[in-house]
Subunit: 371 residues, 2 copies
């Protein structure tokens, strides 16, 4: 168990935690946001630009790597670290979320999931054992157990059945995981929005005594209040000496509200995806820079930002690039959004240190959502 969580400070009032996650490829200051590199590339970014925006860990997707270029090829290249030339920590998801998203293209059984590739329709079987083999080949510092992410809304009976299967699969993952020295397996708490199922799932997941735990199946369409409610009772069941990772969440409000509740890690494609469509996050809220109102606006995307895009280019120029379909447009908005979230996490950590996270939350929300 080489990933180790160091709790620096817990805010007794809110449950927020300031910490450090020690991994074979370096230390991550938590709470942390992890940019997503689905196909072994955080879209539009070089590894050196990721370092420049302050990313300490990135996520990559097991399903995509398995389908193309194949995990065996990545293994030959020295794992994901060698393949993409990224020497900091990496986390791989289990492919569960992706194969379940294939809907008509997959079939679930106790053994695993049979699915068809989104690329060529070829048939594949993911079992907990096979997913561990793939993730071992990819070589990430943190690997996620193969789980089922139930949809929302979800009938109680199905959520229960699915959560129990996820728990059984976790046991098989733990047994099959072949590289416990360099790679740490995290379990995933499921149970949809049902309190008894979440508590049961938390109990069964933590019984596996793993180096970290994730909360899955949230931010899948449920109201935000419901997500926060689920987080509150689920987090109270997770051990304080292990990191807690809220999967698939990356909007500024949810990063703050998750951190306040004691989440240590987040990931989401949101900042990079909206960037390529010409939407950026700023200290005064979202800004659709492709809109005509910015055509002669020579100020930076965000006056308060220190990123490469804001230091060097105007809204007018970035708008032109995006309208003209220039690659540089999406590059600049991506750099900005990722830096914006790294700066946000930095401020969250500072606020925990100075016992002012609630105040920070209120002032951020005031500026971001009501400007």
């Amino acid at each position: 168990m080489t990933v180790k969580y160091e709790l620096i400070k817990e805010d007794k009032k809110t449950g927020a935690r300031l910490g450090r996650l020690h991994t074979p490829h370096g230390v991550i200051d938590t709470p942390a946001f992890m940019p997503v590199g689905t196909q072994a590339s955080v879209k539009a970014m070089t590894p050196h630009e990721l370092i420049e925006i302050g990313a300490q860990i990135i996520l990559s997707n097991t399903y995509h790597m398995y389908i193309r270029p194949g995990h065996k090829l990545v293994e030959k290249a020295g794992g994901l670290h060698g393949f993409m030339n990224w020497n900091r920590p990496i986390l791989t998801d289990s492919g569960g979320f992706q194969v379940f998203s294939l809907n008509d293209l997959r079939k679930i059984s106790e053994e695993g999931v049979v699915f068809r590739s989104h690329l060529d329709g070829s048939k594949h079987l993911f079992t907990p054992e096979y997913v561990m083999e793939i993730e071992n080949s990819l070589g990430a510092d943190i690997i996620m157990a193969f789980d089922e992410c139930a949809p929302y809304p979800c009938e109680y009976d199905y959520a229960k059945e699915s959560m129990e299967r996820t728990a059984r699969w976790l046991k098989r993952c733990k047994e099959a995981h072949g590289n416990t020295v360099r790679q740490s397996l995290f379990g995933i708490v499921q149970g949809s929005v049902y309190k008894d199922l979440r508590l049961e799932s938390a109990k069964r997941t933590t019984e596996a005594d793993l180096p970290g735990y994730a909360i899955g199946g949230l931010s899948v369409g449920e109201p935000k209040e419901l997500m926060n409610e689920v987080l509150d009772y689920t987090l109270s069941e997770l051990p304080k000496d292990r990191p807690r990772y809220l999967m698939g969440v990356g909007s500024p409000d949810c990063l703050i509200d998750g951190s306040i509740r004691g989440i240590d890690m987040f990931d989401c494609v949101l900042p990079t995806r909206i960037a390529r469509n010409g939407t950026v996050m700023t200290s005064k809220g979202k800004l659709v820079v492709r809109n005509a109102e910015y055509s002669e606006d020579f100020s930076p995307l965000d006056e308060e930002c220190d990123c490469y895009a804001c230091r060097n280019f105007s809204r007018a120029y970035i708008r032109h690039l995006i309208k003209a379909g220039e690659i540089l447009g999406g590059r600049l908005t991506t750099i900005h959004n990722l830096r914006f979230l790294q700066n946000l996490m930095s401020k969250i950590r500072e606020a925990i240190e100075t016992d002012s996270l609630t105040e920070y939350r209120n002032s951020f929300f005031e500026k971001y959502y009501h400007y």
Copy 2:
């Protein structure tokens, strides 16, 4: 006349020239290759990456800037230099090549060219006077006169008529050019592949006594031998104390063969365009990195290259990125191709300095075309 050509050394045997072009935004070592930033962006590159690959000057397209975002907007942003945050020299073409390429969408008269926008079909008129106004707004160090680039093949009578119109338009350009202190007007020699027309055009163009001259209407489909023949007799008519720019040429063989004949400047979209399709130039010839044979090739694109892509990534990874449609793939191949051509120009200049350009040509061709 602020652009000044300094001839450092002329190879008496071949006619190749080693020089320096002094401009308001800095010095360019010649012979030089200019990357093309059609829409105020060299595709996929930041200005800082252009500096890193060694670009001393870039080209931008008047037609594209006029259509979108509009030259008045660019002027408000401080010209192209301010708009795109590039502080080194810029050359703008005249839009002639683009509007004549519109074929069915344009109509030529003595006054100018009426054409329809490729974006929205709106009707526009380019006259020599208006093109000067646009190029003055864009603010490049070097601006090209409005000319007609005749197609290939071209009837003698049409080539003559077109060349004469280009000569008359040059006079109007010179008269209309409003910023001779900061911007230098270059004239363009036309005349298709007819020797008497080229000589006549060279005479009429140089009579305008401009800070530089270009040779247009080549590399438009004619055999390479014919291009070299045209270059030979045309260049002999151009004054030695002014730079000579061969428009639209950028394959390694033509850069060497043009330099040997005394060309000082080149531009072409070729290196950036083929890069995005997964083709790179290497010291051992062209390499289609998207081909399956490179899927497990963990060597760099070119063992002899010092670019960011070659220092950090393998053919296998770059192939994966391009196959997967990742932006980073086209970024890396673009960086490589542009660096490859800058290194090539560097070696050409070195060879002129050491009186070994013919030998360099032969050894390069041997490796590049017969490997």
